[in-house]
Structure formats: structure tokens, C-alpha cells
């Protein structure tokens, strides 16, 4: 199979595509995790008017269609758009932005749920220890770390799998913004189905490997720190 050949030979084009895919999705996941976890924790622990509609909105946006996100970010970053001056369109930077926008709601909504549940369990103890808000957030986020890892992986998986957003804002430029998913789409449209399937296999293997690694880390950590 063509793709297996490329992998075993360490084909530089394929490696460059894999590297770019990882760089884009990992960056987006990092940004989305920082934003999403903060937002989720704050919403979980504070009361304010409009909280319920906000939570419903956050949960709903977990299902944001990637292609719609791509279109919206495209309009934002186009030279004719409000942020056109940044010159980000058709660069990996735009792809990172689009994917971060896509997965921040997932991470925020799930973090909120986890933190809220944990707070219900810890409220009495943490209040008795007279912890301030910052202390509470830190304690809850740390103690929720295993669930949070799973949440981050969910976000990563969603970003790694999508093609609609990165296609529109990245332009699938050869050697510059071509990632695994857009490559698969391109090879399919060229009729190179065998290669496309092979690339799909590489992508799935990559995602599985990362998940396996995270699982292993979690097992080790649980054994050592419960």
C-alpha cells in the first residue's frame, strides 16, 4: 500500500505533513485548554444572572460544525475582514485559531461539569479550610486532573479529526498548510483512494498512539498519587 511505503521510507513530505498536523492541533488544544478550563471553572463556581442560558449555550456549542467555524474565522481573518491586518489567512496560524475556536466550547463545557460536581463534593471541606476563590479553583482543578486529561484528549481528538475548518482557513497549500486531513481529502478527490486510505490509517494510528500514551501516563499517576 502506497502510504505504508511512504511511512516506512520516512518520506519527507509525509513527515512534514504529520509534523504540521501535530503542531497545529497541539497548539490549538493548548490554547483551548487554557481558555476553556478557566472559563469552565469560573462558570462552575460563580453565580451570576444569565448563568443557565450560558451553560446551555456552552453545551450546545460542543457540536459546532467545523466547516461553519472555518467560514466564520475565514471572514474574520480575510484581508477584507476585521482582523485582516494580521495577515493570518492561509497560514498555519489561521488553522490554529480556527481549531482553538472549535474546541474551546468542548473543554469549557466539560470542565464546568467536572468542576461543579467536584465542588459539590468538596464544598464543606474547602469552606472549612477558609480557602479563597483562587485557592478553591486551584484545588479543584488539580484534584480533577484525571478527568481534565480526558477532556483535553477529547478536544484534541475533535481537532485532529476535522477537515472543514482547516481547509477553508488554511487553503491546503502544498508544503505550507497541508495537513493530514486535507491531504486525505485531496487524494480522494484525485482518485488516489488507496493513498487516501493509507493516510487515513496513519492519522488514526497517530491519534490512537497519543491516546494510549495519555492513558499510560494516567495509570502511572493514579498508582502514585491516587
Amino acid at each position: 500500500m502506497g502510504a505504508l511505503d511512504l511511512v516506512l521510507r520516512g518520506d519527507p513530505t509525509l513527515l512534514a505533513i504529520v509534523r504540521l498536523s501535530l503542531a497545529v492541533t497541539l497548539s490549538a488544544t493548548l490554547i483551548a485548554s487554557v481558555l476553556g478550563m478557566t472559563l469552565g471553572a469560573v462558570v462552575a463556581l460563580t453565580r451570576f444572572p444569565g448563568r443557565t442560558p450560558l451553560i446551555v449555550g456552552m453545551n450546545g456549542m460542543m457540536g459546532l460544525p467545523p466547516v461553519v467555524v472555518g467560514l466564520l474565522v475565514f471572514l474574520l481573518l480575510s484581508r477584507s475582514g476585521p482582523l485582516g491586518g494580521l495577515g493570518l489567512l492561509f497560514t498555519p496560524g489561521a488553522m490554529i485559531v480556527a481549531q482553538a475556536v472549535l474546541i474551546t466550547p468542548i473543554i469549557a463545557a466539560l470542565t464546568r461539569q467536572v468542576v461543579e460536581d467536584l465542588w459539590a463534593e468538596y464544598r464543606d471541606e474547602l469552606t472549612a479550610m477558609q480557602l479563597g476563590p483562587a485557592g478553591r479553583v486551584a484545588a479543584l482543578l488539580w484534584d480533577a486532573r484525571f478527568s481534565l486529561v480526558t477532556i483535553v484528549l477529547a478536544g484534541f481528538g475533535r481537532a485532529a479529526a476535522e477537515v472543514g475548518a482547516v481547509m477553508i482557513v488554511g487553503g491546503n497549500i502544498d508544503g505550507f498548510t497541508r495537513v493530514m486531513t486535507t491531504s486525505i481529502a485531496l487524494e480522494t478527490s484525485k482518485g488516489n483512494l488507496a493513498l487516501a486510505i493509507g493516510l487515513g490509517g496513519v492519522l488514526i494510528t497517530l491519534i490512537l498512539a497519543l491516546n494510549g500514551l495519555a492513558w499510560g501516563v494516567r495509570q502511572w499517576a493514579e498508582r502514585h498519587a491516587g
Partner: protein
């Protein structure tokens, strides 16, 4: 905030409740309780289940606010700590739990202090074990060590040995005696008469949310002044 109110025996109460009540919806859990918690001998809240002991403790600690009446305490000046009936272990090692409590109290969380607290409650050997994997008795002791980590002046304990076997109960009671000897004012709830006898200096007897009797332990056990107390001591279930 409590002004320095000179009292007859010149002992400054750590917490004062004035006509405090607590209602949840239409249920009145606590009714019109007036008392002072004075530093000194251990105070035991005694009464059947559902008499409002836990709620009273929480109000005294400041965890919940009374829905009627008032509670006065100088929270800034008087350090307090609380041991819950079912304490929640943080998802960390035993030592990390102690370190967390020390840090939360603004005290240095170095290995020496942590080890010292663990040894006090006999948990030195399991310092690195995940706290959630400890036995029920060990978790209670760890929670007690967490409370002591705050170096409190007043220590509230809510039925601390209710779910423990006699062996573990004895260990916890011994620690409580030590803590009392060090000058910490202990305020403890129990429905176990024997434990009350072993620990109490003063008894506060509650029935259905009302403060029925408030007397030194010797007086209460030998010569209770209310009918309800008499029947409780005789072993009656429904007062």
C-alpha cells in the same frame, strides 16, 4: 464581631449564639438556641439523630448562616477547624492532604511539619499512600490531622467516630484527649452516651432542634434537670 464583653467568670466566649435558628424550606432544624462556647473543657453536643447537632456545629463554625437569630464570633482572631462526619479526602497522598491543609492555613508546609502531624495521628507509615485508599479509620485520623494542621483554638468534630470500630474509636478519642490537654477547646457532637461520658466537660443536650439542657457533665449524668434528659439517659428512643 465580638467586643470584649466582660463576663462573670472573665472567660471570653469563642462563639456566642443568640436565639439562633435554622430552617430549610418549611422544616425547622434548629430553634431558638442561645449559648456561649467558652474556652476550656470539652463541650459535647448530645442528642438523638435529627436533633440538629450537625447544624448547630456548622453555624458555630460559620459554615452556614442561621436563618433567624445571630451568631457572634471573631473569625479573624479565633482559629477554628472542623472535622466532618464523613470527611472528604483530596485526591492526593496522605502527606499531600496535610500539606494542603497547612498551606490553606498559611502555615509552612515543610516535610518536617507534615511528618509530625502524620505521626501524631499514627499515620506516619502511610504518608505516600493515596488518601482515598486508606481505611475508614485512617481517613478519619487523616482528617483530624488536617484539622489540627490549622493549629486551631477551637476544634469542631461532628460525630467523628460514628462509622468506626471500637479499636479505631479508641485511637481517635485518645488523640482528642491529647488535643484537649494541649489547650484546644473541643466541641464535639455524638449520640453515644458512653463517648459523651468519656469526653465531656460540659453537655449541651438537644432534642428536635431545641436546646433542652446545658450543664456540666457530672451534673447532667447524675442529676439531669429535664424529663427528656432523664428519659434519654434511661435509654428511651423517642423523647
Amino acid at each position: 464581631m465580638l467586643d470584649r464583653v466582660p463576663l462573670a467568670d472573665a472567660a471570653r466566649p469563642l462563639v456566642r449564639l443568640g436565639g439562633a435558628g435554622f430552617a430549610a424550606g418549611t422544616t425547622e432544624i434548629l430553634k431558638d438556641v442561645t449559648l456561649d462556647l467558652a474556652p476550656g473543657d470539652p463541650i459535647v453536643l448530645l442528642g438523638p439523630n435529627g436533633s440538629g447537632k450537625t447544624t448547630l456545629l456548622k453555624i458555630a463554625m460559620g459554615l452556614i448562616a442561621p436563618t433567624s437569630g445571630e451568631v457572634l464570633a471573631d473569625r479573624a482572631a479565633v482559629r477554628s477547624a472542623f472535622l466532618f462526619q464523613k470527611p472528604v479526602m483530596l485526591r492526593r497522598t496522605a502527606a499531600a492532604n496535610i500539606a494542603f491543609a497547612l498551606a490553606a492555613a498559611g502555615r509552612p508546609a515543610d516535610r518536617g511539619t507534615v511528618a509530625g502531624l502524620l505521626d501524631r495521628v499514627g499515620l506516619g507509615a502511610v504518608a505516600e499512600r493515596p488518601a482515598r485508599r486508606l481505611s475508614g479509620g485512617e481517613q478519619q485520623r487523616l482528617a483530624l490531622a488536617r484539622a489540627l494542621a490549622r493549629a486551631p483554638e477551637i476544634l469542631f468534630l461532628d460525630e467523628p467516630t460514628a462509622s468506626l470500630d471500637p479499636q479505631a474509636t479508641k485511637v481517635v478519642e485518645d488523640i482528642i484527649h491529647q488535643v484537649v490537654a494541649e489547650g484546644v477547646t473541643v466541641v464535639m457532637s455524638t449520640h453515644d452516651l458512653g463517648q459523651a461520658r468519656r469526653i465531656a466537660g460540659t453537655i449541651i443536650f438537644l432534642v428536635k432542634g431545641r436546646l433542652v439542657e446545658h450543664a456540666p457533665a457530672t451534673t447532667f449524668f447524675r442529676n439531669p434537670s429535664t424529663e427528656a434528659a432523664r428519659r434519654f439517659l434511661a435509654g428511651d428512643l423517642v423523647l
